[in-house]
């Protein structure tokens, strides 16, 4: 008693993520309706009013991300959410955020593509998320939750990471996590925040600040990019996250992330029940990718199966991690419009 009691709520993934943002002190949300994440702006419109933050329903995702740019420039914790086509529209803005070194959180409840695709869960935005996504040499930290609790925790953490590195952070969910309901332990409200001496809030008592990514003087842009490169290298060293499940000494490793990993885990449990020596490696940060940790995990493996809800994107990173491994690498994926069930993954595990 006396301490702040941890609240437990039944929330869907959008709501859970939004509550994580609010616990992290998010003061600004701009968004635009797109299925399967419509609950996000709806929920935020109510919660921002209740918590004294700003909610804006923008005229487009392009505008949303640029509003987020303004909020970040002013020194406030800020975010937007959308789904795949909307996230594509935001890529220019995300590139500017990274170029101007502004912290922001972007939640992508990804759906089937390409084009308009459909509104079912998909992981086809892996390349876009982990390779920068927009123009220029930059990366965004990408967190891939597999439950409502995790999207809550990841969103909360994303704000700290964004501030720490002054770089946009992507929380990569999907249509499944956006719409499923689970109990979530709500994090207590963050009370202490890092100072932002670079923010634009009027130059009273200090020299003017300016935020820019345009450097026309010869040599200056390259120097700026080398500075960003050093920052990205630091992130690669410090911010790798992953989870392994029965990986130790397993000769058969399945690599999968997000909700797909959760489906895969059920198939693995069944296979293990039959005595198959199999484990699951789940990258939690997709960038930085846990190359070294995966390499360690597959040291004794003979077979690797990569399972994704796409035509094979993360498998490229698995191959990089497995460069010195003699294990054979297989892939099972369902592209936009298809969601695997545990039975079919179990069958794939047995087939390989």
């Amino acid at each position: 008693m006396g301490t702040e009691e941890m609240k437990i709520k039944l929330l869907n993934g959008c709501e859970a993520s939004a509550e994580g943002a609010l616990s992290a002190g998010c003061k600004f949300y701009a968004g635009y309706p797109i299925t399967p994440q419509n609950r996000y702006p709806e929920y935020m419109s109510k919660r921002m009013e209740e918590t004294g933050g700003i909610f804006i329903q923008a005229e487009s995702e392009t505008s949303s991300i640029n509003m987020v740019f303004g909020a970040a420039a002013a020194g406030f914790r800020c975010m937007t959410s959308s789904s795949s086509p909307g996230i594509s529209l935001m890529q220019e803005g995300i590139s500017y955020l990274s170029g101007c070194e502004l912290p922001a959180v972007i939640v992508n409840m990804s759906r089937g593509g390409p084009g308009l695709g459909d509104v079912t869960p998909s992981q086809a935005d892996y390349f876009q998320s982990t390779r920068g996504g927009g123009h220029g040499d930059y990366r965004t930290i990408v967190l891939a939750p597999w439950s409502c609790q995790e999207i809550h925790d990841h969103t909360y953490m994303a704000f700290d990471l964004a501030d720490r590195y002054r770089n946009p952070v992507v929380v990569l969910g999907d249509g499944l996590i956006a719409q499923m309901y689970e109990t979530v332990k709500i994090r207590p409200k963050k009370k202490r925040f890092p100072k932002k001496p670079w923010a634009l809030d009027g130059c009273y008592g200090r020299k003017p600040n300016s935020l820019k990514s345009l450097f026309l003087t010869p040599g200056v842009l390259e120097a700026h990019n080398w500075k960003l490169a050093a920052k990205f290298a630091k992130i690669e060293k410090r911010e790798v996250r992953f989870e392994s499940y029965y990986c130790k000494d397993s000769t058969y490793i399945v690599v999968s992330y997000g909700t797909c990993a959760r489906i895969t885990k059920e198939a693995i449990d069944r296979a293990r029940g039959e005595g198959i020596n199999i484990g699951l490696f789940r990258p939690v940060s997709l960038w930085p990718f846990p190359y070294q940790q995966l390499a360690e995990c597959i040291r004794t493996a003979k077979k690797i199966l990569v399972v994704e809800m796409n035509l094979g994107q993360m498998i490229d990173d698995v191959k990089i991690a497995a460069a010195n491994s003699s294990a054979r690498i297989f892939f099972y994926g369902r592209p936009g419009g298809g969601v695997p069930d545990p039975d079919e993954i179990y069958r794939e595990i047995k087939k390989k």
């Binding site: 800020c78 003017p208 300016s210």
Partner: protein, 249 residues
């Protein structure tokens, strides 16, 4: 000795890289003078999007951020909502505001965002070296309309003040010119009006300023001034389009 004139505190001592006869220098100086006169420098945040306008962050001596092409009104919206006691303005060219950023300005206007917009209309894309702008005049030659702008193939110029005047969230709209000294003085007055209305939380104000781009017009600075007066001002009438209906006591 008495000081008759000096550089406004709101301008840095940086040497401008704008072309000789360019209107940006005039307008930026007027904005800086008004900010000084209203003593707003230490609580002003400027938003400078892509185009020649973006360079203004090197010339304004207060907080300024870059914005992506056309997106300054979205950026300014967030800054002003989060910092309602600060003075926020966007400084946008015609390609930026009237082509790629048309949605952003219209929706900032419909939301009645309480910031000021300075819209620099020189009827051409400046930084990219003279392509047709949405405000390029009929018959005007540019690098993408080498025989002159034709309505059949290139459409008609976009009249921003006329377009925005139907939007309820806009409180003040005026088009001014920099073709002569009275025009420049009237421009300064309009800039001051826009900032004053923002201080009073009245809603979105926009001043469209007709300026010169001698380099891309392939005219001398003097010929350019004449062209603004004789051609641009005919097509884009210099006047107040909208102002608060209730006079302030």
């Amino acid at each position: 000795m008495k000081t008759i004139y000096q550089r406004p505190e709101s301008l840095t001592s940086a040497t401008s890289i704008y072309c000789p006869g360019c209107g940006h220098g005039i307008v930026q100086k007027l904005i800086a003078e008004v900010i000084d006169e209203l003593e707003l420098r230490t609580r002003t945040i400027g938003v400078a999007p892509v185009g020649c306008a973006v360079l203004s962050y090197d010339y304004f001596n207060f907080d300024v951020t870059e914005a992506a092409h056309g997106r300054a009104p979205a950026v300014a919206t967030a800054i002003k909502r989060l910092l309602p006691n600060r003075i926020v303005f966007t400084y946008q060219g015609d390609g930026d505001l009237a082509a790629i950023g048309t949605a952003e300005i219209i929706h900032a206007a419909t939301r009645g965002e309480n910031f000021s917009v300075f819209f620099v209309n020189n009827a051409v894309y400046g930084m990219t070296k003279g392509q047709m702008a949405p405000t390029t005049l009929p018959g005007q030659k540019t690098t993408t309309t080498i025989y002159g702008r034709k309505a059949e193939t290139h459409g008609f110029p976009l009249k921003i003040c006329e377009l925005l005047s139907s939007i309820d969230g806009v409180i003040y709209l005026e088009r001014t010119t920099t073709s002569d000294i009275p025009g420049i003085m009237a421009t300064k007055k309009a800039i001051k009006r826009a900032f004053s209305l923002q201080i009073e939380n009245k809603g979105l104000s926009l001043v469209e300023i007709l300026t010169s781009c001698p380099t891309n017009w392939k005219k001398s600075p003097i010929e350019s001034m004449k062209w603004i007066k004789e051609v641009m001002e005919k097509y884009y009438p210099v006047k107040v389009f909208k102002e608060p209906s209730v006079a302030k006591i």
